[in-house]
Symmetry: C2
């Protein structure tokens, strides 16, 4: 598809995640691209993805991407590190619209941020087992050392809203202490849920460690992709004609979803519906 349809303000940017984590990407997209419509799908009927196999995560990612395309999305933002690591490489070319994951922008930002050359990565079990961050960081700079650890309890703690809680602090301390002792100076938050714990992570890591937020870097990459072609006539005034919206489809009704989206991320949601996906 051409750049003209990408710059169309009426077609939504499609975004998906297994649960609420991808909303951190939505919050950053809203900030970076305030005029865009966003259609978000949360696969809450099958959440979480992080402990599941590549085959299953790929099947789920295809089903959700099919839905986004059928709803007219002009691009697909895979706002889930597990799906970005396990599914995007094998399915991206099957779609008629661009597909962008959170992994590559995050890895690139980490490479830019480190001074000591020692980067830590935290993520789900599946993301870490895939070694996708390690490979991407090393591809960009083979001299860097990468210390990656799976943190499977963080998503449940976040989905429960325990963002500022001593139990979450104890879990974080357990996960992070070994890599802090190794001397990392940069920590990739390799799961889109984790920015919701930024404050808690900061209080454990201290201010000397750069936190690389995959949500933020993904939003910047999307903005770059949507930049109007200089040869096209696309003045700022045309953007003001668009009506920014955030529409949400969940695959199962989810009680805590709205509360966390609105309270922790300050997102205003225009519509929310439950849609069965897959079978």
């Amino acid at each position: 598809m051409g750049a003209s349809s990408l710059s169309s303000p009426s077609a939504p940017i499609g975004v998906f995640d297994s649960g609420i984590g991808g909303l951190t990407v939505v919050a950053e997209l809203r900030r970076a691209l305030p005029h865009e419509r966003i259609l978000y799908v949360g696969d809450t009927a099958r959440v979480p993805y992080g402990g599941k196999s590549a085959e299953t995560v790929t099947r789920y990612s295809r089903e959700i991407s099919d839905l986004l395309v059928s709803e007219g999305a002009k691009m697909i933002v895979v706002a889930c590190n597990t799906a970005s690591a396990l599914a995007v490489p094998s399915i991206a070319l099957d779609y008629p619209v661009p597909m962008i994951g959170v992994l590559e922008p995050g890895a690139a930002a980490a490479v830019k941020a480190t001074r000591s050359g020692k980067i830590g990565v935290i993520g789900t079990r599946a993301t870490i087992a895939s070694e996708a961050y390690k490979k991407e960081i090393r591809r960009l700079n083979p001299a860097l050392s990468v210390d990656a650890i799976a943190c499977p309890l963080l998503v449940p703690l976040i989905e429960e809203g325990l963002l500022d809680d001593e139990i979450t602090q104890a879990v974080l301390r357990r996960y992070l202490s070994p890599m802090l002792a190794e001397g990392i100076d940069t920590l990739v938050l390799g799961c889109t849920h984790y920015p919701l714990l930024k404050q808690a992570i900061h209080s454990i890591c201290g201010s000397d460690i750069a936190l690389v937020d995959s949500a933020e870097n993904c939003a910047l990459a999307v903005k770059e992709l949507l930049k109007p072609n200089p040869s096209e006539d696309s003045s700022d005034s045309s953007l003001s004609d668009s009506s920014p919206r955030l529409d949400i489809l969940l695959t199962d009704s989810s009680e805590g979803f709205l509360r966390i989206a609105e309270k922790s991320l300050g997102l205003s949601i225009d519509s929310l519906a439950v849609r069965r996906v897959g079978n």
Copy 2:
């Protein structure tokens, strides 16, 4: 179907759960009925059920029950409290074999165990929201008081194998302290994962609180159901012809599954395969 096919040792007892929790029921079935074949399905592609809606849990339960029946199961043991609470009442009569959940046996055992008349129940968010335990206990004895609390972090902690860990202790203390202060003398472990935390729960509750293990009580109910009809010829010698087996189907490959089954429950597994279910 008649009692004769139920007492057939060659047809397996079908058992299902979203993940590994139902293996606590399998361990108790093995103890109570050492000669039976057991076919276990763990819906690891969609684990956990405990935060999902009744509609979704019912759909998943139907799909797994269909699979068990097509594999020749002579009965269906729903070794998941969430599915027992949300799905069994509406789907049990649709199957040609008996379906037995964990909820009613557990509620009955709690009613029998309490002296003070104050019963605590812990379970997933969905189980507790359904009030199924409260209703069943009150149906059996309207004078009893029931204090129920959702413990959504326990399943992830157990699936991670943190059975004897200070973080798990801190989480349990958080959940249990209020109902201990209320003076319960009986605590229903209303999720088949929880017996794996029996020791940790004992150390917090002390020995004065009776722990009602839904796995154990469910196995006793199954044994009762399989008891040969006195009018039939079913001597013990016929049982020795059967070959006890434990066959496992998972809907997604699951790394930690075998480790926990074998290490914590001492189960010996004869075969394990991955089978796609539903979509």
